[in-house]
C-alpha cells in the first residue's frame, strides 16, 4: 500500500507526502510567498509604483505600511521587492538596508548596522563624528561612487517602526526623513508597523518631514474570500513532481472546503481573526496529522485541531489541581459571588472552606492550617491568584488577593475534573455558600 510503481512522472507515496510537507511547511512556517496575494492588489500597485520611482527615477519617498499583526505587511513588501529586483536596472543599483525595531534598540546601534549593511566600514574607519546627522550625511556622500554621477538609491526598511519612535529624540527617524525630503541622495524610507496611531508617536519636527503617505492593510475580507484563501494556501503548485497526486490532493482540498462542518469551524475562526498568521497556525496543526497512512487532510482533523486551538488554557490548568486546591478555588469563587469581586485574603478563604466542612461533617478533607497554606502558595505560584498591589509588609495570611479565574472557567473545569467528589461539585453549584 505504501509504494506505488508507476510512470516516470509518478513518485512513491512516501516521497509525495514528504514533498507536500516540505512545500506546505515552507508556506506556513517560513512564509514563503505564494504567487499573487489576493485582496491587496491596490496596495501592491501603490507600493510598487512608489519604490520604482525611487529606484529608477531617483525620487525620494517615505511611506508607512500599517496593518494588524499577521495582516501580511512583510509579505507585501517582500513580493514587491521580488518583482522589482527582476529588472536589471534596479538590481544593479538599489541598495537595501533592513532595520528592525526589536534588534536595533538604540540609535547608535542602528547607525552601526546601517554602516555595516552598506559595507562602508572601511570608508568610515575610525573617523569621529560630531553628530548623527554628520555621520549619516557622510555615509550617503560615500555612495556617490562609480560611473554614475548621482549616488545610488538606498531603500531603508524599518520593521517595528513604532519602536524606533521610542528612541531618544527620535534622531534616526528625524535624519532619515530629513534626507528623504532634501534633494541629496535618493532615499526611500518604508516603515512597517502594527499600530494605527503611529503618527501620534512622532514628534512634530519628524512628522512634518514625513510625507504622511500610509498604506493600510485592514482586510475587508468576506467569508467567501476567506474560504478561497484557505483553499489557495492548501493547494499544491502546478510544478509538483507527481502531477496525478497533486490533482488528487487539490481535489480533496476542494471537497474539504465545501464540507459543511468544516465551513462551520472556519466560520468560527474567521469571526475571531481574519489574518494570515492564525490561519497558518491552524493549517500547520492539520498538516502535522498528514502521514503516509493518511495522505490527505480530512474534516475530522480540522474539527479536532479547532477544538485544541480554542481550548481554554486556565481550564486546562485547573484540571491538574489537587482536591484541596480545588476546594480553595471554589471557596474563593463563593467569596467573589457574595462580596462582588472584592479582594480577599487567605484567612477568609480558609474560613469559607471550614464552613463547608462543618456543613458536610466529612472529616476526609479536614486538613490542618499549614497544609492549606501550602496549597494556597501553590495557587499563587501558578498565578491563578495574584496579590493586589498593596504593601508587602502585611502578614502572609492577611495579604489581599484576587482570583484570576472566572466563573465559567471553574464550572468548565469541574465538568472535566477526574473523579470529582459529588459533594464538592454540589458545593460549587450551590448559589449561596
Amino acid at each position: 500500500m505504501s509504494k506505488r510503481k508507476g510512470n516516470i512522472s509518478h513518485q512513491p507515496l512516501g516521497e509525495c507526502i514528504s514533498q507536500v510537507q516540505r512545500i506546505l511547511r515552507e508556506r506556513f512556517c517560513h512564509q514563503k510567498l505564494t504567487e499573487g496575494l489576493e485582496g491587496v492588489e491596490a496596495q501592491h500597485k501603490h507600493l510598487e509604483e512608489l519604490l520604482r520611482r525611487s529606484a529608477v527615477y531617483g525620487e525620494s519617498n517615505s511611506v508607512l505600511i500599517v496593518g494588524p499583526r499577521g495582516a501580511g505587511k512583510s509579505s507585501l513588501l517582500r513580493s514587491v521587492l521580488q518583482e522589482l529586483l527582476q529588472e536589471k536596472e534596479v538590481q544593479e543599483n538599489l541598495l537595501q538596508v533592513h532595520l528592525n525595531g526589536l534588534l536595533q534598540a538604540d540609535d547608535r546601534i542602528a547607525l552601526k548596522e546601517i554602516t555595516r549593511q552598506l559595507h562602508l566600514e572601511n570608508v568610515v574607519g575610525d573617523k569621529v563624528f560630531g553628530s548623527f546627522a554628520e555621520n549619516l550625511a557622510f555615509l550617503l556622500e560615500a555612495l556617490k561612487k562609480g560611473d554614475r554621477t548621482s549616488s545610488r538609491p538606498v531603500l531603508f526598511v524599518l520593521d517595528e517602526f513604532d519602536l524606533f519612535a521610542h528612541h531618544k529624540n527620535q534622531t534616526l527617524l528625524y535624519n532619515l526623513f530629513d534626507v528623504s525630503q532634501s534633494t541629496q541622495a535618493p532615499v526611500a524610507v518604508v516603515g512597517l508597523t502594527c499600530r494605527l496611531d503611529v503618527l501620534e508617536l512622532l514628534e512634530k519636527r519628524v512628522k512634518s518631514r514625513f510625507s504622511h503617505r500610509q498604506i493600510h492593510l485592514l482586510s475587508g475580507l468576506t467569508f467567501g474570500q476567506y474560504l478561497d484563501r484557505v483553499r489557495a494556501q492548501l493547494s499544491l503548485p502546478d510544478e509538483f513532481c507527481d502531477s496525478r497526486f497533486a490533482q488528487e490532493w487539490n481535489a480533496s482540498v476542494k471537497t474539504l472546503c465545501e464540507d459543511k462542518s468544516v465551513q462551520d469551524v472556519l466560520q468560527r475562526h474567521f469571526n475571531c481573526s481574519k489574518d494570515f498568521r492564525s490561519l497558518h497556525m491552524l493549517l500547520m496543526l492539520c498538516l502535522s496529522r498528514v502521514t503516509l497512512a493518511k495522505p490527505a487532510i480530512k474534516a475530522s482533523d480540522l474539527l479536532d485541531v479547532s477544538r485544541l486551538f480554542l481550548a481554554d488554557a486556565k481550564t486546562n490548568m485547573l484540571h491538574g489541581l489537587s482536591i484541596v486546591e480545588l476546594c480553595l478555588i471554589i471557596a474563593m469563587k463563593h467569596l467573589n459571588d457574595v462580596y462582588e469581586g472584592e479582594p480577599f485574603n487567605l484567612q477568609m478563604v480558609h474560613n469559607e472552606f471550614k464552613k463547608f466542612l462543618q456543613r458536610k461533617s466529612n472529616s476526609m478533607y479536614n486538613f490542618s492550617q499549614p497544609v492549606v497554606v501550602k496549597a494556597f502558595e501553590h495557587l499563587q505560584q501558578l498565578e491563578l491568584v495574584r496579590p493586589v498591589d498593596g504593601s508587602p509588609k502585611t502578614q502572609r495570611e492577611y495579604q489581599l488577593m484576587r482570583l484570576m479565574v472566572d466563573h465559567s472557567q471553574i464550572m468548565a473545569a469541574l465538568q472535566k475534573y477526574p473523579q470529582c467528589p459529588t459533594d464538592i461539585k454540589q458545593w460549587a453549584l450551590s448559589a449561596f455558600a
Partner: protein, 465 residues
C-alpha cells in the same frame, strides 16, 4: 490533548484501521524522517506521555523541513515537559540548545549558551562584552545555515517576562530574524495570556501537557521499585501512599521523594519477620499513621528529610525533633508578654470598645452599638489594624496587675518586640512622636503566651464575645 482524544470516539475508530494509528495508541512513536530504533528507545523512556511526544514529533516533521518558529508548552510542575523534550533531543540526536531562564540572569548568558551549543566556543567568544540582540543575530547569520532544524529549548520561560521588553518578541521571531531553520520551544507553568506584550507579538503554537492521572502516577511511581522486594508489594505501598497524599499533592517529584523516604519504615515489619508480604492489612495499619505524620512534617518541610530518616531509626517518641515553626516560640520577659498581649488586643479590638473592656466603671453602653453587624467585619479575618503607641500603653497599664512606672526599659522592650518581628512598625522611621504599630502574631501564639501569665485573653477579645 486527553480531552480531544476521548471526546470524539467516532473519529478514532475511523482511523483505527491503520497499522500506524493502532501503534500510536499502544505507545510507539513513528515518523518517516527518524530512525526507527531511536524512536523505539525514546518511546521506552516516555511512559504515559506517548500522545504528547507523538504530537510534538509530528509538529517537528522531518529534520530538514521547517518547523513552526515558536512552540509554547505549558503544564503543571513535574508533568513531563522537560523530560519529553530532553529525551527526544538526546535519542534522535537533534541539534539543540537548552537554556534555563533561572540561570540566565542576563541576556549575555543566554546568547552565549545558544551560540556555544550550536557552533562551539569559538563563535561564542565572538560576542562583545555586553551583547545586545543585534550582535547575537549578526553573529548567528554569519555562520553556516542549518542542515536540519535547530531547536532552542527555554525552560522556566515565565522569567523572560521580567527581562528586556524586546527579548521575548525577538526570540519568538528568531526563525525570521536569522533566516535559518531554527525553532524555539518555551516551557512554562504559567499560561500564555500573561506573556503577551502590549502591542502583540508572533503568537507561538500552544501545546498543553496535562497532569498525570492517578493510574498513571501509580504506573510511574511503581517503576522505581526496590530490587529486593516484589513489584506487587511496591505497587501496594504506592497505592497506600497515593491514598494518603493524592488529595493534597499531585506533584510527581514530591510523591517520589515521599515514597523513597518512607519505604524503609514500610518494610520494617517485613524485615523483623513479624508479618509476611501477603498480610496487607497489618502493613497498612503500620504505615498509615506514619504517613499522616509525614504530611504534617516532611511534606511541609518542617523537618528536613535527614531528620525524618533519623527519627524513623530511633523510634523514640520523646526525642522527636522540633519542627521549624516550634522555633518561633521564644521566651519573653514578663512585661514583654503583657506588652504583646496589649498589642494584640489593640490590633484586634476596635477602639470604641476599649472603654467597655478596660475601664473599671464604664457605665452603660448600648448593646446594639456594641455587637457585631455582620460576619465580614470579624477582625480575625481582615487582619490586624494599626494602633498608636498611646493606646498600646493605656491598655498595657490596665492589663498589668499592680503599678508600673513608665521607665525607659518598658519602651526598649517595645523596640525589641519590633526587632523580633512580633510587632510591625507601620509608621515611617522619621515619625518619632506618635509611632504606629501592628501586632503580627497568630491567635494560637498569643493564647499560649497569655496562658503562661494566667491571663484569660478570650474574655477581652471583641470577636469572641
Amino acid at each position: 490533548m486527553v480531552v480531544v482524544a476521548l471526546g470524539a470516539p467516532g473519529t478514532i475508530l475511523r482511523s483505527m484501521s491503520d497499522r500506524t494509528e493502532r501503534s500510536r495508541m499502544t505507545g510507539l512513536l513513528e515518523h518517516p524522517g527518524y530512525d526507527e530504533e531511536r524512536l523505539r528507545r525514546a518511546a521506552e523512556q516516555l511512559s504515559c506521555r506517548e500522545l504528547q511526544a507523538g504530537m510534538l514529533l509530528s509538529l517537528m516533521g522531518e529534520p530538514q523541513q521547517y518547523c513552526y518558529p515558536s512552540i509554547f508548552i505549558y503544564g503543571h510542575r513535574a508533568s513531563g515537559k522537560s523530560h519529553v523534550i530532553n529525551v527526544l533531543m538526546k535519542e534522535l540526536e537533534l541539534p539543540h540548545a537548552t537554556v534555563s531562564c533561572v540561570e540566565c540572569v542576563s541576556v549575555a548568558l543566554l546568547f552565549e549558551q545558544v551560540l556555544h551549543s550550536f557552533f562551539g566556543c569559538d563563535v561564542a567568544s565572538l560576542l562583545p562584552r555586553s551583547p545586545s540582540l543585534t550582535d547575537f543575530v549578526r553573529i548567528y547569520r554569519q555562520q553556516s545555515p542549518a542542515q536540519q532544524t535547530r531547536y532552542v529549548v527555554v525552560e522556566k520561560a515565565e522569567l523572560l517576562r521580567d527581562a528586556d521588553a524586546n527579548l521575548l518578541p525577538a526570540l519568538l521571531r528568531l526563525q525570521e530574524l536569522v533566516e535559518d531553520n531554527v525553532t524555539i520551544i518555551l516551557l512554562s507553568e504559567i499560561v500564555w495570556d500573561t506573556f503577551r506584550p502590549n502591542t502583540g507579538c508572533f503568537e507561538p503554537l500552544l501545546l498543553h501537557f496535562p497532569d498525570y492521572s492517578k493510574v498513571e502516577l501509580q504506573q510511574i511511581l511503581s517503576q522505581d521499585r526496590h530490587p529486593s522486594y516484589s513489584a506487587e508489594l511496591y505497587s501496594f505501598y504506592v497505592n497506600i501512599l497515593l491514598g494518603v497524599f493524592y488529595s493534597v499533592c499531585r506533584d510527581l517529584r514530591e510523591l517520589r521523594h515521599l515514597a523513597a523516604l518512607n519505604f524503609s519504615k514500610f518494610c520494617e515489619p517485613l524485615e523483623e519477620g513479624k508479618v509476611k508480604e501477603t498480610d496487607t492489612h497489618k502493613l497498612w495499619k503500620n504505615i498509615e499513621p506514619h504517613l499522616k505524620k509525614a504530611m504534617q512534617t516532611v511534606y511541609l518541610r518542617e523537618v528536613s528529610s535527614l531528620q525524618w530518616e533519623q527519627m524513623q531509626q530511633t523510634e523514640d517518641e520523646t526525642g522527636a525533633p522540633k519542627g521549624l515553626s516550634a522555633h518561633t516560640h521564644v521566651e519573653l520577659p514578663f512585661y514583654s508578654k503583657f506588652l504583646l498581649i496589649a498589642a494584640y488586643l489593640a490590633s484586634y479590638n476596635p477602639a470604641r470598645t476599649d472603654k467597655r473592656f478596660f475601664m473599671k466603671h464604664h457605665g452603660k453602653i448600648k448593646k446594639t452599638n456594641f455587637l457585631k453587624k455582620n460576619e465580614k467585619t470579624t477582625n480575625h479575618l481582615l487582619g490586624p489594624k494599626p494602633f498608636p503607641l498611646d493606646r498600646l500603653l493605656a491598655i498595657f497599664y490596665s492589663v498589668v496587675d499592680g503599678r508600673v512606672t513608665p521607665t525607659a526599659s518598658i519602651f526598649s522592650q517595645i523596640s525589641s518586640l519590633v526587632t523580633l518581628q512580633l510587632l510591625a512598625q507601620v509608621s515611617h522611621d522619621d515619625q518619632l512622636d506618635s509611632p504606629k504599630y501592628k501586632c503580627a502574631v497568630s491567635l494560637e501564639f498569643i493564647c499560649n503566651i497569655s496562658r503562661t501569665v494566667n491571663f484569660d485573653i478570650m474574655k477581652y477579645l471583641y470577636d469572641f464575645l
